[in-house]
Symmetry: C2
Subunit: 629 residues, 2 copies
């Protein structure tokens, strides 16, 4: 086969031919795979044909250099179209498209993920690509300071997700004139018509009210699309652009055009044959669209802190809240590592991200009360090579659970900090208490979960987060507790600290964060009764220090008290017992103290006692395990 | 003290006096507690004084009858104001306000919860009260068909949450003219100015674009407020109303008015004294505002299904997807119980909620792709006594994690169904795979977590959900698998089924959903090798059948293989081992098979094999545990 090349001066007739190819390839790929979303691809094929031929500045051979535009499919289910674009760009072969799509072990997954070098972020959970794109555009405008544009193809259905409006709100707040959302208004969702149908005016009014410049086009009129995208790419003013395109689902194949019942269904082979015939057959056009401007090579940035991190220091016994130490450490990290940036959900004076915001205002991005957008922006910033730290109350990170999950699929290196963990916060009551966060963060693939008990360990673990790939999570505590460790002590990820031990320990007390201090008090009380207790600071919950845990279990005849300021499921207790059982540890006698009822208000002390997590309950559990009652 | 009563014809001067009382009491309560948000209360005091005196139709002695208006504080941190309102209504004493607020064991919690009979839903995680209010208003308009109005006090900061726009979108879609959002635009958030400050026009344009009627007022001009609330309460047209009120944070105390740094800070006693003096001192006015119209008593509805549920029947061996059985069962439940309603996030043809939507269109509420709003609407419907079942893909329920968490604090009886669990779904890839849902749902307080493996058990468990209080969760599978149980078999919550056992079992295989079928195949293969395996269907993951698990552990020398189509943390494996350890079971040898790497696309079979969850891997694990290698 001979490939015809389309350059950016190709005629609209040639672009129409390309659009037909994108449709045909979307059909072929999905029919060959036996699943996928051809009709959702066909509605947007004209938009993409114009975009990649004339507007997207992209060096397909070098997908990661600084100056390339970014192309994000927020409607990730239109993956057949995206992969057809990759074929048209000459980077995916027709054979791969026909044999790799949605197959086991292949990279053309059902929804796009960054296993492909031209994909910035995983999509497929709707309402996330545009928020992610905001993060990329923030990086472009404020950090990279490069002229690349971020083009995001959105579905109309996903505009029902509030996160899309968080994204537009932040895009206008941050004046992201480098961001273009192209909304494929094909009127039909998965199970029926969308809420707003072809009410383009409603979409336009909403986007305008949220601060965007809006261009409404017929999404099948190539000249109109070309004009809109040219205007969108010009970045006049300080507004993001939303292109609202009226399209027809299944466009190009008369049997399915604008018909319900064809979402997420490939055409059977006979239908596919008719569709391809109607579309003029298989083509192998190759696009040579605009290329990015050359960017002078920059000095390579140092990787990580390059040893320059100077941890804040706290004296042993000095009372400091770990959330305060987080802020201090983030400032120190910011000094050592120019790639570190911070975000917060309008609680920066509680999480202490405010210290970073004051020290490095150019690298701090306030996300206001929009936790989904906060994590998405971090994901976009990470896609550009920055090291984002995003913080809010641990309880409110649950708001971003789906974004954290997708961040893991994106293989994004995200650093999250959740403050105000547990009933320890006291008077504010359960809505503000992080009691599910450890379970949430542990269950996401590839995460690192850290929970320090003092300032020194917090400072060390914040640096560790900067050097850790994947998603890392730091759980911090509201109140101030005495320093336990000398400055300079090391806290490897996956380690633990034995704070108290003897050669005649009868029981092991395992705590983290506030409960570690209670364990220490309990051990002190037990010691006066002649009961020797080993105390372990389990500051690294995932990965966990299996060796130290099994050693302690063996030394104390399997008698272990675990105390955690968290609901009983999926947190520290599970982490410890999972590790011990996986290591084959036998004869365990576990007392698992956790928050088993719904808390109300009170002081932290009252609530820790109420939950059975204070020193007195820990000591009682230890006495019971050891038979000293 | 003598209480002066204010009736609905009280003069505006008297209402102003009440507003001063609300401010004074907000100050007194928070200062006495040593924490709380007086300034956020003071900005909204005029709005509330007018509302409760002249517009809120409420029988304070009977908070739960059908005809009362509803009052929801979406800005839950303004709890001092809410409790001051309760004092003014005569239902909370001044003494309780001064000694109960934010204290241990008391009901005036830091943020409102339904432990108070006048509170419908817990708030405090911002951006949830309005979405919850949408559910209450849906109930009022479409189910109760009563004239009550739903008044929601919103903060300006929380309009940064996308969920607020999901709420307005649905409010206009469902033409909720009985819903009034009052936005207290005091310009200052927790850590600084809000994004939009006093740009009332921006708020108005956004709300209008989302379909609301908007009334902009000076939130300290009592006459203007009165006019706006009168208009808002009239419910002309078919639009929700948004009252955008320009207010001053800390209004009434010149030392803090419109000043940063006073969010979430009570005044020290000396300041409080000056503030109270400036506001004219302590008062004890009592409001006798409008009362609801009398509603004719209805015949009492039957509680639950009243034994009328006729479960759909499936033959043993007949292949049926549990998601399909969910839809069938929901239809059967709808016939038996008129209080059952259903919601879905625009995937009803995948979750099979579509069957209920077709059978009972008047009791089905499409939430489109807005999972947060879906769970919030369910919470509001539950607050009105309905039994909502809300469904989407298990993966996308993570989007609503914070709403589920708050639903638990609301003590709402919610029924959630998550389909497309695990790698079993195959080609669509990881973005669509529920791999964290069991961990999420288990860690929420008071939940019930169910995971059936066939149609018969699904049908039984759907009825059990209707009869279960708190939040219950049903995990369903995409593919169709053979029926295991005869019609009529019972499946108590907290139970399990031993599907295969003998008096010489060497190992226990525990599965649920798809992995149970794999366990059965594995047991069959092991039997041909002379290895007897017990197989347990752990359909009830929380609560779990500890007795059956310990019996099996004892019978098989502690050798247990657990297979779950979920990440290893917090799911079935944790539930089983938590139960065994809590029961003091010793000598466990656990092989825990779970999804330990990031999946891609493939067929369900390929991916179950890749994850090590198919019969062959289960059998291999059993052989290893039993030493038959």
């Amino acid at each position: 086969m001979t490939a015809t090349e389309l350059t950016s001066d190709a005629s609209l007739a040639a672009v129409a031919d390309l659009a037909a190819q994108l449709r045909v390839d979307s059909i072929r790929a999905s029919t060959s795979a036996g699943s996928g979303h051809p009709t959702s691809s066909m509605s947007a094929a004209d938009l993409l044909a114009v975009l990649i031929t004339r507007h997207l500045r992209y060096d397909w051979q070098n997908p990661r250099p600084a100056a390339n535009d970014h192309l994000i499919f927020s409607k990730g289910h239109a993956s057949p179209l995206l992969y057809a674009v990759f074929k048209a760009a000459g980077v995916v072969s027709d054979e791969e498209l026909m044999t790799g799509y949605r197959r086991f072990g292949q990279r053309l997954e059902g929804h796009p993920t960054p296993v492909l070098p031209w994909v910035d972020v995983a999509t497929g959970s709707l309402g996330q690509g545009l928020p992610d794109g905001v993060g990329v555009a923030v990086a472009g405008k404020y950090l990279d300071k490069l002229g690349y544009r971020v083009w995001v193809l959105c579905g109309d259905s996903e505009l029902a997700e509030g996160s899309m409006w968080e994204a537009l709100d932040k895009a206008s707040h941050y004046q992201l004139s480098n961001l273009v959302a192209i909304v494929d208004v094909n009127r039909l969702g998965q199970s029926g018509p969308t809420e707003l149908g072809w009410n383009l005016d409603a979409y336009a009014r909403r986007a305008e009210a949220f601060g965007a410049r809006v261009l409404v086009v017929d999404g099948h009129d190539l000249a109109a699309i070309n004009g809109a995208l040219a205007k969108a790419g010009e970045a006049a003013g300080e507004q993001p652009t939303v292109v609202v395109a009226k399209t027809i689902k299944g466009r190009g194949f008369s049997e399915v055009e604008d018909k319900e019942g064809w979402h997420g269904r490939p055409f059977p082979p006979d239908m596919a044959e008719r569709a391809i015939a109607e579309l003029g057959g298989v083509r192998h056009l190759v696009v040579r669209g605009p290329r990015p401007e050359a960017v002078p090579a920059r000095e390579s940035e140092p990787a990580g802190t390059a040893g320059g991190y100077r941890a804040p220091e706290y004296a042993v016994g000095e009372k400091v809240a770990t959330r305060k130490a987080y802020g201090d450490a983030l400032v120190a990290l910011g000094a050592a590592d120019p790639k570190v940036v911070a975000l917060d959900g309008e609680v920066k004076n509680s999480t202490y991200a405010i210290e970073f915001a004051r020290a490095y205002p150019g690298r701090y991005f306030e996300m206001f009360i929009a936790e989904q957008q906060m994590v998405a922006a971090a994901t976009g910033l990470a896609a550009r090579g920055y090291r984002p730290f995003a913080s809010t109350f641990a309880a409110f990170l649950t708001r971003a659970h789906d974004f954290i999950r997708m961040g893991s699929i994106s293989a994004a290196d995200l650093r999250l900090a959740g403050s105000h963990a547990g009933v320890e916060i006291g008077a504010d009551g359960p809505s503000q208490m992080g009691l599910e966060d450890l379970a949430m963060m542990r269950a996401v693939h590839g995460t690192t979960v850290l929970y320090p008990a003092d300032g020194t360990s917090t400072a060390a673990l914040v640096e560790a987060m900067a050097l850790t790939s994947g998603i890392s999570y730091l759980r911090t505590t509201r109140g101030a507790y005495p320093g336990l460790y000398r400055a300079g002590e090391t806290f490897p990820v996956g380690g633990s600290k034995v704070l108290r031990s003897s050669d005649h320990d009868e029981v092991t007390l395992i705590g983290a964060g506030v409960t570690l201090h209670e364990c220490l008090h309990a051990a002190g009380a037990l010691a006066t009764e002649g009961i020797a207790a080993r105390v372990i600071d389990c500051y690294s919950i995932k990965p966990i220090d299996t060796a130290a845990l099994t050693a302690a279990a063996q030394a104390t005849s399997g008698r272990i008290v675990i105390a955690e300021d968290h609901h009983p499921e999926g947190g520290l207790g599970s982490a410890v017992t999972d590790a011990l059982l996986a290591a084959g540890q036998q004869d365990l006698s576990i007392a698992h103290l956790a928050v088993r009822e719904m808390p109300g208000s009170g002081t932290g002390e009252e609530l820790l006692a109420w939950a059975g997590l204070d020193a007195s309950h820990i000591a009682a559990a230890a006495r019971q395990l050891t038979g000293h009652q």
